[in-house]
């Protein structure tokens, strides 16, 4: 080495001309560059993300979108809970899954996709292909810092809410149905919990069901918003939607931003005199979907004599000895998808609506007159549940008419299973 360069080296050392970097690897800096340069997030935010543990319950439309954003942003630990398997009807909205994934566990596949997207996270993401229950929920919540509710039913939503209050964890909650989405952060500092708004889940369970349909982009949008709020919680940024609820109506393009009440001092869970101290099904009701059962008193299930099997109906169609017509109680939108020709569409909602019963009666009378000698009516729905209740309701409406009312056992699903394997189901 020449004398001159030795002198230069010495001088540089004296002037501390050496390099430095934040507590992030060169790879991490390269990967997170676009959020590292944001003054509100920066190195501090990135390190907070690396130290944060996120629990995502539900790997459906919301979960797909939320998880891929969280892992992409550098979530240190990500646990995904879902016991469902991927079905073809999920793919329009659950954007991390492909056709080849049908039949696999959602949580398992989503974890795979997150790992592929970002192998640099502090811990590898973890899949739990189990149902969330009163036995495992509290422990899971306690093991994480930020909880994301991406579930699709009232039971799981209240279970998570209760666990988050008992364990003092913020709950970033989103939901999506039809053209609408909602988002809020429960139990963060003084923001409300779910029970401050509506204390009893049992009343709500009667109204919600997974049969309602949803537009693909809506859960994706809401899940992305959810990830954003979860990142803000973890990074110590102001959490905009704590105490504020966002409602997105995709059909009209409206965004409602609602300032929520403060914590309810009388809340049975987070209030001063709380009565809910543990996770218990006594406070949560049921996790089964009974779409309309509570609205009709008593047991609405039909005995076997009042039901007709798919194969018997197929035989009856061929023989045509007994004039018979079909009443389809699905929604008009469902009727457009597939069904039986020449059936009369009387949607379940119209049978349950006192004000619509007169119209229903008139339509039935008219149809009965069109078919001379008609003495029997078969009620059809998608799966053979609503049709049983419809028979009860129609027996009341047609009390003075001598017709035999039966329902198609197993609905269109049964028809596909026993008569026509090529019939589409949805």
């Amino acid at each position: 080495m020449s004398e001159i360069s030795q002198i230069t080296l010495l001088k540089n050392a004296e002037l501390h001309h050496e390099t430095y970097k934040a507590e992030l690897s060169a790879e991490e800096i390269g990967r997170y560059a676009r959020q590292l340069v944001l003054p509100n997030f920066g190195v501090k935010g990135q390190l907070a993300m690396r130290n944060a543990k996120f629990l995502v319950v539900g790997a459906g439309g919301l979960g797909c979108s939320a998880c891929i954003h969280l892992s992409g942003s550098g979530a240190g630990k990500l646990t995904i809970v879902d016991h469902d398997r991927i079905e073809a009807s999920n793919l329009h909205r659950q954007i991390m899954y492909t056709t080849a994934d049908i039949g696999r566990f959602k949580a398992e596949v989503l974890v795979e996709r997150c790992k592929n997207s970002n192998p640099l996270t502090l811990y590898p993401p973890e899949a739990l292909c189990v149902a969330l229950t009163t036995d495992n929920c509290l422990e899971l919540v306690r093991a994480h810092d930020v909880i994301l509710d991406c579930t699709d039913n009232v039971y799981a939503r209240y279970l998570l809410n209760d666990a988050c209050v008992l364990a003092s964890r913020p709950l970033v909650s989103a939901s999506a149905l039809k053209f609408d989405g909602q988002l809020t952060v429960y139990n963060f500092r003084d923001s409300v919990c779910r029970r401050c708004l509506f204390p009893d889940p049992k009343i709500l369970q009667a109204q919600s069901c997974d049969d309602n349909g949803v537009m693909g982009p809506v859960p994706g949008i809401m899940g992305a918003l959810q990830a954003m709020e979860a990142i803000k919680v973890a990074a110590g940024l102001e959490v905009t939607f704590a105490g504020i609820k966002l409602h997105y109506d995709a059909l009209t393009g409206s965004f409602y931003r609602i300032k929520l009440r403060p914590r309810n001092p009388l809340c049975p869970l987070c209030g001063a005199a709380s009565v809910i101290r543990t996770l218990s099904d006594d406070h949560l009701g049921t996790n089964t979907c009974f779409s309309r059962q509570p609205e009709v008193p008593g047991n609405f299930l039909l005995d076997q004599d009042s039901r007709i099997s798919s194969s018997d109906l197929a035989t009856a169609f061929k023989s045509e000895t007994v004039p018979n017509f079909l009443v389809d109680v699905r929604t008009p939108a469902e009727v457009q998808i597939c069904g039986f020709r020449n059936s009369l569409n009387l949607p379940m909602d119209s049978l349950l609506d006192e004000n619509a019963r007169q119209t229903v009666r008139q339509k039935l009378y008219q149809k009965l007159q069109e078919i001379p000698g008609c003495s029997s009516v078969t009620v059809v729905c998608r799966r053979g549940n609503d049709s049983q209740m419809a028979v009860h309701l129609l027996r009341k409406i047609l009390a003075d008419v001598p017709v035999i009312l039966k329902d198609l056992e197993g609905g269109l699903y049964g028809w596909k299973r026993d008569v026509d394997p090529n019939f589409p189901i949805y």
Partner: protein, 106 residues
Amino acid sequence: MAVIHVEFAGGVELLFDNVKKLTIPLECVGGDTASKENKILTIKDLLQRLRQSYLKQRPELFLQGDSIKPGILVVINDCDWELMGGPDYALAPGDTVVFISTLHGG
């Protein structure tokens, strides 16, 4: 003419023949008798007016007795009605009242 704006979202509109927005003259909220007596009109009166004149399907999914059905959030000028006095909130000209169902799908 003094009016209030009423909106339905999250599925509540289905009970109102799919109408999402209504403009109701304030004097109509109290029905025929109330307006002449200069009575203060509240959310309670609005619920009755909606039941009598606008609610088309399944009233039991919107009201439980005289009160709103649990699961439906009442929003007055972008605020949860609990912040505004609840059912006794006195309606003022130009108010916007939104009824939003809580969604549980995912």
